[in-house]
Symmetry: C2
Subunit: 112 residues, 2 copies
């Protein structure tokens, strides 16, 4: 039953809230793999900033990294995204049903 998808909801959403981090994800998503230095060339910030962003993304499992010689290569990991998406759909559906019920209740003539 796909246990505990969003115990790190705070960190996941916070990670996605940063535009530069979403840019990094997008670049990795379309190019597959890259190093921090290469990615830094695409953004108007230093390599260190990129490295810190990548660390955040890695801490919430949105990317994974591995050393290859003297460089470290990063790759996207889409599972947290799809997991969060399905969770959002789930609660949205539930709330919608609930609100419809409440609205229906509010429209019944007061019997008390």
């Amino acid at each position: 039953m796909t246990t505990a998808v969003l115990d790190h909801a705070d960190e996941l959403f916070a990670a996605l809230a940063e535009p530069n981090r979403r840019l990094l994800l997008e670049h990795l998503g379309t190019h597959g793999v890259a190093t921090a230095t290469a990615l830094a060339a695409e953004l108007p910030v230093t390599r260190q900033a990129v490295a810190q962003h990548l660390a955040v993304l890695e801490s919430v499992d949105l990317v994974t990294s591995a050393r290859a010689g003297r460089e470290r290569r990063y790759t996207v990991h889409v599972e947290p995204l799809t997991a969060a998406a399905s969770w959002m759909n789930h609660v949205a559906t539930q709330w919608d049903a609930r609100l419809a019920a409440i609205k229906a209740l509010a429209e019944t003539p007061p019997t008390s």
Copy 2:
């Protein structure tokens, strides 16, 4: 055609990143409607903090409010949630396909 889903991605994700805000959303999602004062009774923070959180949620259209006499009543609005969810699913799917292609390429024997 449900225009422009994620031009406010920063603010939307940032709004969802706050645990207290998610609690507020959950409460509103299951109870339908409530005032800031009532909601403050459920959280370990002051009414003002709740009011500020609700303002944030309202600024990204996750809740709507209306005055009724001397109180202001808040309700959830699930569309941004479902919109964000479908967007996340979309990009995740695209990236997955792209990464599969790249992986396939990487596994082809080097012809050069």
